[in-house]
């Protein structure tokens, strides 16, 4: 049976100033393989990503956001399960 290795990570994102920035990150990352859900918060300056750990790692997600021109930092493991 197919099982997903879903994990959650919060990535700090600096440089977003409006909802358009938020949307481009959500859309761009949403297109990547192994991304189940993504919530970007302008107020908290972070992106919470639910991803398949077989296909992505926090580092690859961080790099994807960096590639888009934003400062992305891994704040350690997310407290949420």
């Amino acid at each position: 049976k197919f099982t997903m290795e879903a994990k959650s990570v919060a990535i700090g994102v600096e440089g977003m100033t409006c909802n358009s920035c938020v949307q481009s990150i959500e859309q761009h990352l949403g297109k990547m393989n192994g991304i189940h859900d993504i919530k970007v918060s302008l107020e908290d300056k972070n992106a919470v990503v639910i991803y398949d750990s077989k296909l992505q790692t926090p580092a690859t997600l961080q790099e994807a956001i960096c590639d888009m021109g934003f400062d992305a930092t891994l704040a350690g493991s997310s407290p949420q399960p």
Binding site: G15, M16, S20, S24, D67, M68, G69
Partner: protein, 70 residues
Amino acid sequence: FQKHEFFVDMTCEGCSNAVTRVLHRLGGVNFDIDLPNKKVYIDSEHNVDTLLETLKKTGKNASYLGVKSA
């Protein structure tokens, strides 16, 4: 002397900062960003395809408008 003119769908300073960063990462480019008109003018040794791909990395709509002679 020529500059390539690109349209990039930027709506705020965050957007233009993102464009600035990806172009800096590419390196070897001189550029001006016209945020109100959503234009980016680039003078570079890289070809247009490379520049356009780089601009599209920001996740925004981008298109090549042509050469602007200065």
